[in-house]
Amino acid sequence: MMIDAEVVTLSRLQFALTALYHFLFVPLTLGLVWILAIMESVYVMTGREVWKRMVQYWGVLFGINFAMGVATGVTMEFQFGMNWAYYSHYVGDVFGTPLAIEGLMAFFLEATLVGVFFMGWERISRVQHLLVTWFLALGTSLSALWILVANAWMQHPAGAAFDPQTMRMEVTSFAEVFFNPVAQDKFVHTVSAGYVLGSMFVLSISAWFLLRGRNVDFAKRSMTVAASFGLAAALSVVVLGDASGYSVSLNQKMKMAAIEAMWHTEPAPAAFTVVGIPDTRARTTHAAIKLPWVLGLIGTHSIDQTIPGIAELVEDAKARIGQGLKAYDAMLALRRNPDDAQAKAVLAANGQDLGYALLLKRYADDPRQATPAQIQQAADSTIPNVPVLFWAFRIMVGCGFYFIALFALSFWKASKRRLDTQRGYLRLALWSLPLPWIAAELGWIVAEYGRQPWAIEGVLPTALGVSSVSAGQVWSSLGGFVLFYTALAVVDALLMLKFVRKGPDGLGIWPPAQPADAH
């Protein structure tokens, strides 16, 4: 059965939109919840009421955001089945497990405790409430861990093999799936990015209070927490970003080459192109400014290993398509006769390239009948969108270094008790608010768009993963998402603005309307 190209395009668009939208809320939840946990810890240790009120004020904003995160997260779980049914069948045996464990181990924890966090202040002791907050924070980060284990498997499908009887990938080693090195780097990089974002949120809004001369003590305390937590997180993002880059260069050579717009293999150690204009048609980068050695050092952590360029990787893909076709033929033979020993041997030898034969399904009904021109087309299709990746990556990294600088400055100012002495600094902190969101979204674009044309790197082409639904059906759901998500975004933004404007003073949170409890 031929795949409907329109359904593929629409399903990808819908997935990209809903996933990027979901990730507007996730990192804020991830970061803000730890800031709440830190503030509440100070409250329990010192007994000073203002820290409790800080938890309650930032908690209101956390709650609005948390609801949006939960609402848009359900979409992600539905969408694999609704729009990517063949993907779900083909890899569910491996990919479903971390998602299910996420529900069992993490999401249950955070969702069950969030109600007590908001409504349990009067019903449980201080220490109990602090524990609830800590477990809530732990739940959110654990949740990210399992989702990223699943995502890392899409980038680096370790610990699984194809079974011709069930026509799907099946787990051979859960240890390899769970302790996937890509997952470890991705997890720390992603949650740290969330911690940076949460810190920026608190830093920027507090800076706005200081600019207005409102809630001064409240804002300074909040900024101090944000600056310390943010600095540690910003350092961690960049260090683990480097580790992530290293694992990409090991496992996803094409993504690496595309990010660097490295059209041809260079002698080691390769230079890093700081900026330039990648030209997809001519396969060259114009006006490139290069730093010698740097890419080789980042990508291989050595000075003598080469990083393959795009042209060489396309040739490599072509060779793998050839081997994949042998595996494909053996797979069909095994479907006719499960005991065909010769076919079993061929599949065992070439099975890791089966996915490359599946790339041809976009061009030919039966991959074995593909013409050399179609094989070339399929090999060329393994090149992701170079200019987009090149720029997305550079903007993200630029933001990352900027965050280190800003949080270091904030940390220094906080330790000198000079947070509110310079309006220029406060404005800078305020206007930096959108940057972590931009960096986080670009990070996902690099990771996911950079993996194209694969849904599972080297195993399952994205186009094959779609459901057998009609374009009309996907149009209606896509339209529905655009409509509802836009409306929710407007409501969310208005409510956030309202509660920021009101501030702890306007809401009667601090200073308290009645005299505060002294202890």
Binding site: M68, G81, M82, S88, H89, S468
Partner: protein, 376 residues
Amino acid sequence: MFDYTTLRLVWWALLGTLLVAFAIMDGFDFGVAGLLKLLGRDNEERQVLLEGIEPTWEGNQVWFILAGGATFAAWPVLYAVSFSGLYLAMFLVLLAFILRPVGFNFRGKLRDPRWASLWDWVLVLSGVVVMLVAGVAFGNLFLGLPFRFDGDLRMSWQGGFLDLLHPYALLCGLVSLSMLLAHGACWAALKADHAIAARAVRIARWATLAFAVLYVLAGIWLAWGIPGYAVAGPAVTDGASNPLYKQVAVGGSWFAGYLQYPGFWIAPLAALLAAVAVQALVGRRGVGGFVASSVMVGGTIASAGFALFPFLLPSRLDPRSSLTVWDASSSRGTLELMLGATVVFLPIVILYTGWVYRVMRGRVTLADVRKSHGGY
């Protein structure tokens, strides 16, 4: 540890358990939401009802998320076929699940009564949609769904959203709706201010009566009006998960299983006896009525699952493509690991869920609502 056959049976039971847990735990939230305008006559009364579910609904909803995730992991092809085949129905349910969290959270954020009323309607509609669609979908399982697989196990589906609205499926939708409204009303009788609880008792009685009548009707229709499916020839219970390896005979009875395993009768009997118990107990406005309605919900879902056994998703287009317990599961290793994870984590989940319910126990009164500033 276990052989493949046993693991598949265990996971069939676990899938059922998760669905029942979802229907009991989140079902009363949906029921209360669906009755919001009927039970709560003004904004304050509706606030009482909502505060009775607000601290716990979010955790309750995870039973659904978990049922979905576990289906993805343990029954991947079932997840793939049901979610993509029932595309628009699933999208409707998804919209309800998107709107509920924001509805609960945003409703109290502005003082304008029109704002609260807007979100009240959102909650009512999202509750009713999920309760109805869940039943309609279940009903369609007995009618068979229009899908088939090709050799690559790529599924194709012939039919649209409107084809799901067969009268029998609609009847099942009403069974589900009346059952969960009754269940929600039992919760309100237990949790809400006495003025509202009295109303909830009356609604619970009527809804339970409607449920019992519709449920028996659906059973009679199923026994005499709808052909059953059966796996032809000896069932291979530990073979590779490929639905195309078997043959299926259509034309038997969906009650064949009940004749073969008389123990199955426990489920429908429990559902009906529990319906009687709801009538007797709900007036006391205690835990008894709610426990009874929980048994009613569990018995109903189990009775449908037993009738279908060993089928999960019958296909009327190409009966051979039907999914059964024996050919739609994950690999043995995955089932084993997932079972281990469930055995370790589920008791922990139940433990802290129990703690949260204990912390948040007690009736929500009108006085409470006037004191608080609108939940969170």
